[in-house]
Symmetry: none
Subunit: 156 residues, 2 copies
Amino acid sequence: MRLSDSIEQFIKELLNEEATEVELKRNELAEYFGCAPSQINYVLATRFSPDHGYLTESRRGGGGYIRIVRVVQSGSQRLMYLVNERIGDSLGEEECLRLISQLKEQRIVTADEASLMASAVSTRALSVPVPDVLKDAMRAKMMKSMLMTIAARNRS
Amino acid sequence: MRLSDSIEQFIKELLNEEATEVELKRNELAEYFGCAPSQINYVLATRFSPDHGYLTESRRGGGGYIRIVRVVQSGSQRLMYLVNERIGDSLGEEECLRLISQLKEQRIVTADEASLMASAVSTRALSVPVPDVLKDAMRAKMMKSMLMTIAARNRS
DNA sequence: CTCTATAGGTCAAAGAAAGTCAGACATCTC
DNA sequence: GAGATGTCTGACTTTCTTTGACCTATAGAG
């Protein structure tokens, strides 16, 4: 069995028993598996990315840590559909706005959150000298990122 | 738990019970926590700066002290300050996150809104081939845009 | 007025973790 | 079996914390 798979499984077991969140020390985990610490980053990048339904945060320095949050897709099929299929690699401003207003109508986000999201992907917010193609790519990523965050919260 | 975090918490507990102001002796505090006195300055600098919503003043010599004041500021004042003065033309991810978490602590935004904002300016959301300089310029604009939206909403 | 004990301030360097990335190696696909 | 894709490592980087040596201001005694 591959090392990455073992590490993946180990973390998923920690997450299984009613915990939707784990905190671990990169160095300890690496030592436990007898591998380079950077291997942990590889596993996180390839198995615990937002596209896989996870969020991670971390802190460096003394007392540092890595936290992994599992985003369960029970009450949020709609969101996961958007993240995984509807939104591709690029999304124009109009399309973003359409999607956001749908989410609001379906009461998946509040009116306040909808306007917050809209202001983040607005032309005004992205008015820097960058080709439109890249801006739309960013919009897609930003939308996915925000939707994942909402899904994580809706974890019901 | 980190020493800095313990000291931070200790001070915040002193400030919590209806007191908006504490006065303490640097050396005593350091002795209580068994650390170097300069550690106290570190905590003040990283957790009780004006950005965090605190002011500090102090006095040396016999009978010296350090006073920490929690600044009471309305939400919209705070937002305007951030938009017009604090956030310039560029803002790194770490700084964004710091500002956002302070807004949350000061209850100007909800926890949900804070995580939404954080996910919008995250590295993850902006991982497209664009120079960092431009990303930080975008972050500044996005933050302003979102904060303006919040300010507009609060004014109702 | 001067001296000294008593505080707090500053800064650089060491330490503690995590992040990044290029390249070696492995595995899969056709 | 050659090229593409996936794994893994190690050297280097970045960020955050902690300490200690040295600096500066103040009050009070003489």
